[in-house]
Point group: C2
């Protein structure tokens, strides 16, 4: 009987540790994603040929993350998810197996974070892909051939945010397993 209790306590502890590790992972990944896109800026000298008889005009062109509303949404969403991950991490540590209602509330907020993060990844990904490929039908030219470094940083940020969003999905899945097993 005592042995059985120890196994249950051990399992609960390992599940709690898994939850904390994933929350910490989600925190760091969304933080890194927000910072990498938040500091993204590239200036390039672009040559413009006004007339074949004149020498080309050189002028500096700058790409900044806040020029595009999808990237602003992405940075803000990742910042919100990061702040929430930090807060929920503290609550989870303080609540360690205590208030079940609070635990359930966190699962619901985790689900909302999944929705928020995935919508921002979709928005930034859609615009990023357009910048990378361009589209002849709407005559939107690709810009990543000029701002290569900027685009690479966007791609890195997207991958990190996607991993952070997957961590939130796993948190919901693990919580569902836990609630199911406890019945």
């Amino acid at each position: 009987m005592e042995g059985g209790k120890e196994v249950i306590v051990g399992k609960t502890k390992s599940r709690g540790a898994c939850d904390l590790v994933m929350r910490l992972l989600a925190l760091s990944l969304t933080l890194a994603a927000a910072i990498i896109l938040g500091v993204d800026k590239q200036t390039k000298i672009v040559s413009l040929v006004v007339s074949p008889s004149l020498p080309p005009l050189d002028f500096p062109a700058t790409a900044k993350w806040h020029y595009l509303s999808s990237f602003v949404f992405f940075v803000v969403s990742n910042a919100i998810a990061c702040a929430y991950a930090a807060l929920s991490l503290l609550i989870s540590i303080a609540n360690k197996g205590g208030n079940k209602g609070l635990g359930m509330f966190i699962v619901i907020l985790d689900t909302l974070m999944v929705a928020l993060l995935f919508s921002s990844i979709g928005a930034a990904g859609g615009i990023g892909l357009m910048g990378y490929q361009g589209n002849s039908h709407v005559q939107w030219k690709k810009v990543c051939n000029v701002f290569g470094k900027f685009c690479n940083q966007v791609a890195a940020s997207l991958v990190l945010s996607l991993l952070g969003a997957i961590a939130f999905v796993l948190l919901v899945v693990v919580a569902t397993f836990r609630l199911h097993k406890k019945k």
Copy 2:
């Protein structure tokens, strides 16, 4: 004692009915969203001034949903979510309070649908907003001033899909409540 049992049975029945109604709602909304964007097409006669001495050239320009990869992703995601909603509706009816493992599996798939739908809404929303506003920094001109009907149909489709995605979020939330209460 018998009365208490009846109350529990009644609550379980009403929760089951709520689950089925929301699944039906998610099915119809994602189906409508996929169809509305899937049949979206507009042809307009655009005048192009080649030279001030010549009369403007009139040519037909067509906007189709599959010209933009974000819209293709949106239609495919909504079709997947719709097919899954239909399948999970049938499974839920057949499983009525039976296999708990299957119920948990459906909650996990519901969470994945939240991720899929929100990412596609973000992608189509980001591109749709770009078409509506344009962006001077990347020199992508707005196209909704020309293809107004096309853009309105995209907006309607986005709203319906968002409601469908919210239905999936509510399904996860209700399932979490249910699992929590049953403990």
